[in-house]
Symmetry: C2
Subunit: 164 residues, 2 copies
């Protein structure tokens, strides 16, 4: 997996406030989030380690939340963002499962294959952390995209919304 | 939501070692898990609090992992188990989403509506913690069961397995 020319990928940092929130607006409702609230969530994500994190090496390994940004090297803008959250199970010999969530590519950066690059990176981070599988939920219209990323259909997503 | 007569429900504890593992075997491969490994995972689950946990009251609130057991009051056996893991997002005003995982009912306790009771409880725990939605993935054959629990079809589950 090589980075598309002119772009790099790394864990999200506190200074990505504007870039991440504006990118997420391509995906769904974001609402009003203060800089300090954003920073507290990035800190929270960074604070939760996997149970066996000490056995692992490397600056990107050992985290439960793995929110990444693709950055345009030319101007420093956030072009895409996405998360893989690693779940500690009991089944499968206390196995780990990755959940990919909230993939979004900023409108001005669409059509550059950054979505596939992001999924490939998150998948690689999940497996490097020891996940035996990685799952995600998507609309039917996005199935072909995820198949190109190596994923296959596995089941039905069910949902219930809060009445509040 | 009332507990089926003769059964109670509570968070999983370290002493549920045999009961939880034998119940999970109704669901899938569990493998060999030592008592100390089980206990370390229950401790790990209990150690991770939600970002706003201090604002919440009550012994069941404020946890990221919420693994519950239904216990047969007559003999203390674990009859069913399941988990709801609460994800801290940025979207939807830094919203929370619950992920229901690893629902299993021990074979000898099937047909007593414990599955629905468990889902109702986990759903209620998710909403009490502030989740704006709760999701789960299931086989097509289980869609009707989850519809009875108030869930609706929302998308497609995609999966990739590790080569290891």
């Amino acid at each position: 997996m090589t980075s598309p020319e002119g772009f790099s990928i790394r864990r999200t940092r506190k200074e990505d406030y504007e870039g991440v929130l504006s990118t997420l607006k391509s995906l769904t409702t974001v609402g009003t989030i203060s800089r300090s609230h954003f920073e507290s969530i990035v800190s929270y994500w960074d604070s939760i380690r996997l149970l066996n994190a000490r056995k692992q090496e490397g600056g990107e390994l050992g985290y439960k939340y793995n929110n990444f940004v693709i950055v345009d090297d030319h101007n420093g803008q956030v072009a895409a963002t996405g998360n893989i959250i690693i779940e500690q199970k009991l089944i499968h010999e206390c196995g780990l499962v990755g959940h990919i969530e909230d993939i979004s590519v900023s409108e001005k950066y669409q059509g550059k294959k950054l979505g596939k690059f992001l999924i490939d990176k998150l998948t690689s981070v999940g497996f490097a952390n020891g996940c035996y599988k990685i799952i995600l939920d998507c609309d039917r219209k996005n199935v072909k995209f995820y198949e190109k990323c190596g994923y296959e259909e596995a089941g039905v997503e069910m949902r219930i919304r809060s009445n509040l």
